[in-house]
């Protein structure tokens, strides 16, 4: 039995379906990230777990106990909000201790707990200040302190890093990961940032318009996206999605890029590329990550299916650690990720090495992975 179980969860505002039947579970100590574009219902889902929103149908269980009807304070959860939601009229210590005060914990015990948490988060020197006197990163820490001090069964994070600047965001991301590793608590975390999702999660759930698109480990989501939406949403730059066709040539199944006008490009389909055998003439969309397209020297030597395609370089974007090279194939823009010292110039035609071991195929009609 999983630690957190969500079964058939539905949420409806008037005639609007926000969540359309969510089934999810999470093991104890896991880190579940709910990710999706804005308006996909991820925050609503988190709020229903917190008890801040009622649910229309379904069930939420923690350790086998149904908590649907419980008041937020009785669910043994703690939540960190996007705006931090620190009480502006109380000191940092007051903020952290407020929950305990409401539960009638004696003053000495409260102060001891505040000290412990302040030490963990290195905010001991801030305890007497008010939230308005703190920087963004300090507020973030206090908000985490307020959650930590409860020592809850379940941590809920609602886009906690989105109000921080880029550098601080990376720092706090590491901090959250470390905190999760040391305390071993179970976390549900909402974000629209797929890098946060990839780096933090032990399990990712991708949502779109109130429906789960895919649930799985980060590597699985990244390498074997269940459909075109997940493929496009996860990863930056996004996965290349190229129109293609299955053809049979001399008894071998080939994948052909329909290269409108120019010569079509065909190469043999690796046996592992799709779960079911392809049918000749079938329309396909080939998904391949930018890092699986390189220059000839940068190609993965262990790959069994490297195909070289000559194409004209349109744009070169040196990003420091890598160089992104944009070209056109199958009527679509294709981004390749090359070593930073790769010798590439815009306007030249050069060989691109496609690592087809890493490619996936989608059905253009349903959008599902084949």
């Amino acid at each position: 039995m999983a630690f957190l179980e969500i079964a058939g969860l539905r949420k409806r505002f008037g005639s609007l379906d926000i969540l359309k039947g969510i089934d999810l579970d999470l093991d104890k100590g896991g880190f579940l990230v709910l990710v999706g574009p804005s308006g996909c219902g991820k925050s609503t889902l988190l709020n229903t777990i917190a008890g801040l929103e009622t649910i229309t149908a379904g069930e939420i269980r923690v350790e086998g106990r149904t908590i649907n009807e419980l008041h937020p304070s009785k669910r043994d959860i703690a939540m960190v909000f996007q705006s931090y939601a620190l009480y502006p009229n109380m000191t940092v210590a007051g903020n952290i201790g407020f929950g305990m005060e409401m539960r009638g914990v004696p003053k000495e015990e409260r102060e001891k707990a505040i000290q412990v948490v302040a030490k963990t988060l290195q905010i001991g020197h801030l305890l007497d200040r008010r939230p308005s006197q703190l920087s963004g990163g300090q507020r973030q820490r206090v908000a985490m302190g307020r959650a930590l001090v409860r020592n809850p069964k379940l941590f809920l994070f609602d886009e906690p890093l989105s109000n921080l600047d880029a550098k601080l965001r990376v720092d706090m991301r590491v901090e959250i990961k470390r905190l999760h590793a040391t305390t071993g608590t179970t976390v549900v975390y909402v974000t629209h940032d797929q890098i946060e999702a990839m780096t933090l999660a032990t399990k990712i759930a991708v949502l779109k318009e109130g429906e789960l698109q895919q649930v799985g480990a980060p590597a699985e989501i990244y390498n074997r996206p269940a459909n075109l939406f997940v493929a496009d949403f996860m990863g930056s730059p996004a996965m290349n999605l190229i129109k293609a066709r299955a053809d049979e040539q001399n008894g071998r199944m080939m994948i052909t890029f329909v290269n409108g006008g120019a010569k079509d490009i065909a190469f043999p389909a690796p046996a592992t590329i799709a779960a079911k055998p392809l049918a000749a003439g079938q329309d396909l969309i080939l998904g391949i990550r930018p890092e699986a397209i390189t220059d000839r020297d940068g190609a993965d030597r262990h790959s069994k299916a490297i195909e070289i395609v000559d194409a004209k370089v349109e744009i070169v974007e040196p990003a420091g650690s890598d160089t992104f090279v944009v070209t056109h194939l199958g009527g679509k823009e294709v981004t390749a990720r090359m070593r930073s010292d790769a010798d590439v110039k815009a306007g030249e035609t050069m060989p691109f090495a496609f690592n087809l071991d890493k490619a996936v195929l989608f059905d253009p009609g349903s959008g599902k992975r084949l």
Binding site: N47, A50, L52, H71, P72, S73, I77, A78, M79, F81, Q82, S83, A85, L86, Y87, P88, N89, F98, G99, M102, R103, R146
Partner: protein, 293 residues
């Protein structure tokens, strides 16, 4: 003029500044003139008023008119000054302001943070109270006060003012609380705070400016009310404003302008005091609602 002042008005020619300040000064004089006349007249003896200039300062300052207005002047048939009516007004204003402000605050809290189906309708109907001409409700209100047994009593006036103040106080507090982040309430709920705990520990401590605004507004309105006071009370139960009217209209031969003026000053002092003590919060509070925090 200091360097700082001139640098803050780059591009404004000094001639236009003189015109602006000159006009403002003239308007200030114009508005302050009646107050000045009242003040100087209240400190003059009747003889001096009769043969003197209205604008001149008193030659011999006397506080006798103030004492008379307070303790001896005839209001209607009794000649015990206006002190009893002043007391009536205080007894009416303090609870009426306190109750209407407290209820408005809770209303605003509910209408923004604990929304229920139809909350917009409830608020809309409450706003209605702000726009109803008071004259139109005099007769039904008198009837209801009669049925409740509150006619001609301070308590009755308190009830009337609380009811009519609610529209405004709710509007003030609702708009102020609207800018409060809802996540604060949610965080407090998770922390285990209940409806009134959140109100007392979180909402109230942050309501300072809007409470001041509401108190000034309500105090001024209720203290200065004449219509309800004259309609629903009579004789010794009347508030200050009604008594002032009766004081001026009661003549026993000579018209005592100095006593009338002193009475009017006494009637105006409390609102003046409240405004001077809390006025700076008034402006600050009005601004606070406009800028989202």
């Amino acid at each position: 003029m200091s360097a700082a002042t001139s640098s803050s008005t780059v591009g404004t020619p000094w001639t236009s500044r003189i015109v602006v300040y000159g006009l403002l000064f003239l308007f200030a004089l114009f508005f302050l003139a009646p107050l000045y006349v009242m003040l100087v007249t209240s400190f003059k003896s009747l003889d001096e008023i009769r043969d003197g200039n209205m604008m001149s300062l008193p030659k011999a300052v006397t506080v006798a008119p103030w004492l008379k207005a307070w303790g001896e002047a005839c209001v209607g048939l009794t000649c015990a000054g206006i002190k009893g009516y002043f007391r009536n007004s205080v007894l009416m204003v303090v609870p009426a302001v306190a109750i209407s402000t407290a209820l408005g605050s809770i209303n605003g809290y509910v209408l923004t943070k604990w929304r229920f189906a139809g909350h917009k309708w409830v608020f809309g109907l409450m706003l209605f109270a702000c726009f109803i001409p008071f004259q139109s409700v005099l007769i039904p209100m008198a009837r209801i006060l009669g049925i409740l047994g509150l006619a001609n009593s301070i308590l009755g006036l308190i009830v009337v003012h609380v009811i009519y103040g609610l529209g405004f106080t709710t509007l003030f507090f609702r708009n102020y609380y609207e800018a409060f982040p809802n996540e604060l309430i949610r965080a407090a709920q998770i922390d285990g705070a209940g409806f009134f705990q959140i109100f007392r520990r979180l909402i109230l401590p942050m309501s300072g400016p809007i409470i001041v605004v509401t108190v000034i507004f309500q105090f001024t309105n209720i203290w200065n009310d004449f219509l309800f006071g004259s309609s629903f009370t009579s004789g010794d139960g009347a508030p200050m404003t009604v008594a002032l009217n009766n004081l001026v209209n009661t003549t026993t031969g000579v018209k005592e302008y100095n006593v009338d003026m002193a009475g009017a000053m006494i009637a105006a002092l409390p609102t003046l005091l409240v405004y001077i003590l809390a006025g700076r919060y008034f402006v600050r509070g009005l601004m606070a609602g406009a800028v989202k925090g």
